[in-house]
Amino acid sequence: MNLTRREMIKLSAAGFAAAALNISLPGKSSGDDGIVVDKWIKGTCRFCGTGCGIYAGIRNGQLVGIRGNPKAATNFGFLCVKGFKGYVSMYHPDRLKYPMVRGEDDKFHRASWDDALNKVVNKFKELHQNFGKDSVAFYGSGQCMTEESYTFNKLWKGGFRSNMVEGNPRLCMASAVGGYITTFGADEPGGSYADIEKARTLFIVGSNMAECHPILFRRVARHKIQNPEKVNIIVCEPRLTPTARIADVWLPADPGTDLAVFHCMARELIKNNWTDSWYIENLCRFSTGAKVVDFKAYEQFLEQFTPEAVEKITRCPAANIKEAARLFGSQGPTMSLWTMGLNQRTRGVWANNLIHNLHLISGNICKEGADSFSITGQPNACGGVRETGSLCQLLPGTRSITDATARADVEKSWKIPPGAIDPKPGFHTMEMFAKLGAEDDTSKPLKAMLVSTTNPAQSLPNAPKYYKGMKDAFLVVLDIFPTRTTQLADVILPAAFIYEKGGVYGCSERRSQLTQKCVEPPGEAKADLWIAAQIAKRMGLEKLIPWNGDDAPTSYKMAWDDYRECVKLTEHTLYGITYDRLKQMEEGLQWPCPNENSPGTSRRYVRGYDPLMNMAAIVKVPSNALIYFYGDKQHEGKANVFLRPYKGAEEPPDKDYPFFLTTGRVIEQWHSGTMTMRVPEIARSKPNAYMEISPSDAKEYGIKEGDMVKITSRRGFNILPARVVKNSLPGILFVPWFDQTWDRMINRVTIDAFDAGSKQPEFKICAVKIERIGDPKDVADSYVISDVNAPFPIKI
């Protein structure tokens, strides 16, 4: 690299950084982009639900750099290590480049696309004929593009007439969906990320934002640092994570006990008159779930949750809870932010309800800086799966499949006969995998599954329980790398990475952003949409899914337009979000966005912000209502404040299994490590999973830093190194779940109990025991499954 070029790159790089903060660099050119790369193409990051805007730098047909988009409303140009480096994995030599079909020797062999697709289609047809329309399932992902999820959903529900459609957001977001729908009658938050900078108090619950959503956390931390006296941060989380370290008040409740903390905070709000009587009278309906009650009954119900009683249940100090309630109620506006710590629970929906309760009774919602805001884990769990209705009980626009009007509307849009859509929901994720199996196994109604862009053999809780079903059934996997799931597959279809195909992602704040295709996929890998459309075509459903051409941008636009039309007259309308607008707009658009003149909606349910408040064709809102929860099934514009009884974890520690185990992500790695472990710098910095343990527990068990430990639950065990850390309460262990190594795959240990309402499993909590089994050992192997024919670690 010669000096001139280096200086130009430095100036360009500084120019991008300055632009992000609206700082001018006097006397300096911001550099000529053309010297650094041939062109910059706009898109989004695919490594978490924040939805950071990026520009991809292309040189000689290759992606050579990523920079943050300074005009993106999500990240203002900042990116985290995954955003900068994650894409490097797309150039890894392990990429799946050719269709592979398992042969009679039980090994994968390269096949042509025609042969592979015909094998899939012929098998699906045969199974449909022999076992009925519901014998073949689709299991998608919050990482599929919206157009892809919509297409698979349409193919299954409209083409096959089967609701056997699920996706991995069931494992991460389903309780948030359940919480929003039961409280407000409609899914997804009302506010926006922009409320972060308007809030005076931020209540962060069950979220290690600093590691899992680092750019959002940067916004929170920056807001606090710039206004240290005015801005308050409360963090409710059993570990003193990097997120909790910026808190003014930390609420360290034992895993699964926080329902009591939230009720206690509500009690404090009422006792100290930190409530809003207008909200209570006009926007709240108090409910036990079975019947409507009055405010007095709610007040009486809360009496059992005194701070002192709650401290006994949760180990969370009473004084901390009181102070948290004071900040929440009297130092507003208050915004709550949460992720998996709240959702991945057998009481996930209830936990979500109770956060909403706090906002409703204190009037901290539908105002600047005040919102009850669930952050999504994956880049397109909201936009792709929730909004397109790609779950077993939903239709596009997050409408219920049991709703006859919604079905009729979708049937009309899809031009299929009235009554074609089955009113009965399909199996939810855990049921699907439990009922997947061999053709000769009469106890298993599902005989085949197409898995797209996800790795259930590693990510399902209590995963080994489901291996036999996956192995015995006809399993088709679309992915970009070999995984534990491809090891169990019959056919592997090589897919394209986001920058090799383009498409729309919708992030946590209802914002749709378009990524344009940047480069070609490697080998014979194909855009997932092409694969879906080719299956449709070969099954005689070309009229339903006509976007089967080779030009990805054309096909994705066709699918998007079909989707826009389908949800045009729903509460989730994004009819005004066209590809042309998304190409032009740096920051994308937030729905509801009912027409092409609409600027989108930063705050739902509020007149003056939300265009639906004046759109009787979609929702009926009284003309004098300023705030109106139009999803309310009682048509009163109210939200439900629930009197949910206290219930702890499904499997609390006991004398045999005395520890809580909680699992999660770390900043460098993403999900099952399939991509991030293939970025050398990331792999080096987090090469293996480990078990975090408090110093007092470590002492009691004779465990020192790095010692090998065995962690065992009622389901399975892991063997991994210990990390003695001061950041969690005694009795609580933490293991990240990115590691593919058999000994360190923590979902061999987790519990597959799930929430009765949302069907989301309790990844975050189970009971385990530990034993020290040896001195420190070097396990920093950065292991990935590189060979599709690598033998599965156990006999199935």
């Binding site: 280096r6 430095k10 950084a17 700082i23 660099l25 940067r218 710098e681 590189s786 690598a790």
Partner: protein, 96 residues
């Protein structure tokens, strides 16, 4: 070699002293700052990402008035060429 475009956020009123202290780090080039002085626009140069991370940590440890170092752009096109030339055996040792 990677080159960043980054923002160093400093405590109010400390920008001049931070500027001086940054001179001890030849890998850092100051390109400008905001009117308040709290945001400094810099380039940071490092051999690879690991070195960048440890350098940033060292800068933060050495200059306590720095609140945060955030990267807006990282140029690492040379790295892609290196990565493409590798095979998985070059840096992974499977254990199964």
């Amino acid at each position: 070699m990677i080159i960043t475009g980054s923002v160093i956020m400093v405590m109010p009123g400390t920008s001049q002293s931070v500027e001086k202290e940054l001179l001890a780090f030849p890998q850092v080039t100051l390109q400008g700052k905001s009117d308040s002085g709290m945001d400094m626009i810099v380039n940071i140069e490092a051999d690879d990402h690991n070195e960048l991370e440890s350098l940033c940590q060292k800068i933060k440890d050495t200059i306590p008035a720095i609140v945060d170092i955030g990267h807006i752009y990282i140029n690492f096109e040379d790295e892609i060429e290196k990565i493409q030339a590798r095979t998985w055996q070059d840096y992974y040792a499977p254990n199964e």
